[in-house]
């Protein structure tokens, strides 16, 4: 056992830190620190900065323009970015479609789309979920019927994150009704300019707009936009789920949130004493710090194993479960630290109200928004089903 970073890893960490120090715009970091919404331009600006450095497609091999990092380097990069309050990389192009095209795409598709992801010309979004099929992807109904050299798509997708900013969408669609429900699914690329597509916003619990519904009515998509073979969409979806979800535990986000919470506890006084000195509050800080320290090691152990075996095992579901619970516990405790002022609704606050520290005006909104992380991407219940079957063999 040796938990210390190797000299090479330390050097890499220094390189990332220096890059962030020199290149992360303070206004962006400030927005992230204060949990304020980022505009499309904010996100795009950060993507382009990363792209110039060659660090946008963090999972990509060098041959395709990625940095060619291993799991530990990716981990260091993600942790440092989160600690520095860098905006997260919007994952749909760089972290999701990119790896899929590298693994399953035709040379023509790779040539057409990969460079446009790295150059930020394309903004991809995801068409997976449907109103009737949340965690149960096999039951999806949006259909793509082959007509000549086109597929004609009809149906509805939902929970399409940041679709309002995207110009393209990758979709799971049903191309066959034969065999098991999983078998008739295909993975297809769609230009959002294609006639027949309508995107409608979904307003979230806390009032924000980050997800959408997408309606497809007789949308004609060139057949060459199919990725892999027809009806191999399930394989691609599983590949994405198992292999390319980097940072599933969100350790870096939680570490940053913990530091912010510790600082908040030192700032907020309650009955004449900072919360950080109130045993009942400080023991909760200690609990979260402990859980998080353990999860960080769990994450590293699994990364190290994945690096050896070539693929993460079902343990990644563990990271999802525990990682989301810790992130939610952090937002819960922040909100509670603020007392009744936490409930003040950001958009309605008079300037300089000083009711809560400015960086924490969104804490309650974030608490509610973060309920989503144990629901989406395969709910924690689905993750437990998976672990029971694969890891425990029950």
């Amino acid at each position: 056992m040796d938990l210390s970073c190797s000299p090479a890893e330390q050097a890499f960490q220094g390189q990332v830190r220096a890059f962030l120090r020199d290149n992360l715009p303070e206004d962006l970091a400030g927005k992230v620190r204060g949990n304020r919404p980022l505009s499309r331009e904010d996100m795009d600006r950060w993507h382009r900065i990363l792209s110039r450095q060659g660090w946008l497609g963090v999972t990509w091999p060098k041959a395709f323009g990625g940095p060619g990092w291993g799991a530990v380097e990716r981990h260091i990069f993600e942790e440092e970015c989160a600690l520095a309050c860098a905006p997260r990389i919007v994952p749909f192009g760089p972290n999701m479609l990119g790896p899929v095209l590298i693994k399953f795409g035709s040379p023509a598709q790779q040539e057409a789309y990969l460079p446009r992801i790295l150059s930020c010309e394309d903004w991809w979004c995801q068409g997976y979920s449907e109103p009737g099929a949340g965690s149960d992807l096999a039951s999806l109904k949006t259909k793509a019927v082959r007509e000549g050299d086109h597929y004609v798509i009809n149906g509805q997708k939902t929970w399409t994150t940041l679709g309002q900013y995207a110009n393209r969408i990758f979709c799971l669609v049903r191309t066959s009704w034969e065999g098991k429900p999983q078998q008739g699914i295909s993975f297809i690329l769609v230009d959002l300019d294609t006639p027949g597509i309508e995107m409608r916003p979904i307003r979230l619990i806390e009032g924000g707009h980050e997800v959408n519904e997408v309606f497809f009515t007789d949308v004609r998509v060139p057949a060459e936009n199919l990725v892999g073979e027809e009806n191999m969409g399930w394989t691609i979806a599983k590949y994405l789920l198992l292999h390319e979800r980097t940072n599933i535990a969100g350790i870096g986000f939680s570490m940053q949130a913990f530091e912010a919470l510790k600082k908040l506890a030192q700032e907020v006084t309650r009955d004449g004493k900072p919360l950080s000195e109130a045993e009942w509050f400080a023991t909760r800080l200690a609990q979260i710090e402990t859980d998080l320290a353990a999860l960080r090691i769990t994450n590293l152990r699994m990364l190290s194993k994945a690096d050896k075996t070539g693929a993460p095992g079902p343990e990644s579901s563990m990271l999802k479960i525990k990682g989301t619970l810790i992130r939610q516990a952090l937002t819960d405790l922040s909100r509670r630290a603020l007392g009744p002022g936490a409930a003040a609704l950001p958009g309605t606050l008079p300037d300089n109200l000083g009711l809560v520290p400015p960086e924490h005006e969104h804490d309650a909104a974030v608490y509610f928004n973060m309920r989503k992380i144990s629901v989406y991407g395969g709910s924690n219940e689905i993750q437990r089903n998976i672990l029971a079957k694969t890891l425990l063999e029950l």
């Binding site: 979920s129 009737g132 099929a133 949340g134 965690s135 149960d136 039951s139 939902t158 929970w159 979904i202 307003r203 979230l204 619990i205 806390e206 009032g207 006084t269 309650r270 009955d271 004449g272 009942w280 509050f281 909100r335 509670r336 603020l338 007392g339 009744p340 002022g341 936490a342 409930a343 003040a344 609704l345 958009g347 309605t348 606050l349 008079p350 109200l353 009711l355 309650a364 909104a365 608490y367 509610f368 309920r371 989503k372 144990s374 629901v375 989406y376 709910s379 924690n380 219940e381 437990r384």
Partner: protein, 355 residues
């Protein structure tokens, strides 16, 4: 012992429920709850005409209720409809004005709206530690998160008097600087900034009266939560029975069954502790029972909100789904008038003295 609601209260509650379901549905509620002034004057008048406010004070003060079970009956119905109107300040102002020997007529007929300004940013929950102070008929300080403060005409303010104790003062809202804002769970509150603001002293040493008002307010919140939890449970069970995944209604999955059962058990516990507190509002151990109730309600309400969202899945994350608004209210009401930690610690302090 008997556990049925009296006929009078049942009638009032039924009437109020009916009125709200017909006149304050979730769409109207959301329109009112999240935009200034976070209040619907017409519906407010109608509530007053139904007698909802009068139910919060005893006959001696011009009402027809004012007992723990009256508060509970009214707020359970308000919670069931997620009504954002500022009825809470009425429940708290009534005992204060009574203790002061003041007239409650305009309070109970709804024509004068009161804000009860006790909490401060650094002492949101406990009576000790007030910094706002009174000197020679004027108040200075800042009162924080005053529910209904944005539309109040009168403010009942707790402040330290020259002798060091805490007095109760009435301030004309027009004389104070009021900074109103909305709440993430609906309704409005305000910061009240007092700078040499003229004030009338209602009670010189008001700790006991203020504690009573806080206790009545906390009981009201407990009952509101019970009403909202019942509504959430109904939505959740309906969802579990109708939403299908993997070919069956998701309510067939044993994990969701057990979690729904655990919620049902906790909701019954929450109802019980609220009943117990309501029954003790005239007893010397009132505060202790209210602390128990508010502590347990705080725990259960958050659990119900979080579990309801998780079991609903994505749909509960949307503004469009009523359950999301109920969840927000259930979570945030813990932070009003003392959260679960505050009340548990109050109770805990009680064991030390018994030696």
């Amino acid at each position: 012992m008997q556990f049925e609601m009296s006929d009078d209260r049942q009638m009032l509650q039924d009437m109020l429920r009916r009125y709200l379901s017909e006149n304050y549905d979730i769409l109207h509620r959301n329109a009112v709850a999240y935009a200034a002034p976070f209040h619907d004057p017409d519906r407010w008048r109608a509530l007053a005409e139904l007698g909802v406010l009068q139910a919060l004070a005893p006959e001696a003060a011009g009402g027809f209720g004012g007992e723990g079970f009256d508060i509970a009956a009214v707020f359970e119905a308000l919670g069931g409809a997620l009504c954002p109107e500022p009825v809470l300040p009425v429940a708290m102002a009534a005992p204060l004005l009574m203790a002061a020997g003041s007239d409650l007529e305009t309070l109970l007929d709804g024509t004068r709206r009161y804000g009860v300004a006790i909490g401060e940013a650094e002492a949101p929950y406990s009576l000790s530690g007030r910094r706002a102070s009174h000197e020679k008929g004027r108040l200075t300080g800042r009162k924080s998160v005053v529910y209904g403060g944005g539309i109040a005409e009168s403010l009942l303010v707790a402040a330290r008097h020259e002798g060091g104790g805490i007095g109760l003062y009435e301030v004309d809202a027009a004389d104070a600087q009021i900074l109103p804002y909305g709440m993430i769970d609906g309704g409005g509150a305000a910061e009240v900034v007092l700078e040499q603001t003229p004030a009338t002293c209602l009670i010189e040493d008001a700790e006991a009266a203020l504690q009573e008002a806080l206790d009545f307010g906390a009981l009201a919140l407990c009952a509101e939560a019970v009403g909202a939890m019942d509504a959430v449970q109904a939505m959740l069970l309906e969802y579990l029975k109708t939403r299908r995944q993997f070919g069956v209604p998701i309510g067939k999955f044993q994990v969701l069954q057990h979690r729904a059962v655990d919620l049902a058990v906790e909701i019954e516990q929450a109802r019980s502790i609220t009943i117990l507190a309501a029954s003790r509002m005239k007893e010397p151990d009132r505060s202790r029972h209210v602390a128990m109730a508010k502590a347990l309600i705080g725990q259960v309400a958050v659990l119900v909100a979080e579990e309801a969202i998780q079991m609903h899945g994505g749909i509960a994350m949307t503004w469009e789904a009523p359950v999301s608004h109920y969840a927000k209210r259930l979570v945030m009401l813990d932070a009003q008038l003392g959260d679960r930690d505050h009340h548990l610690r109050r109770l805990a302090a009680g064991y030390a003295n018994q030696g």
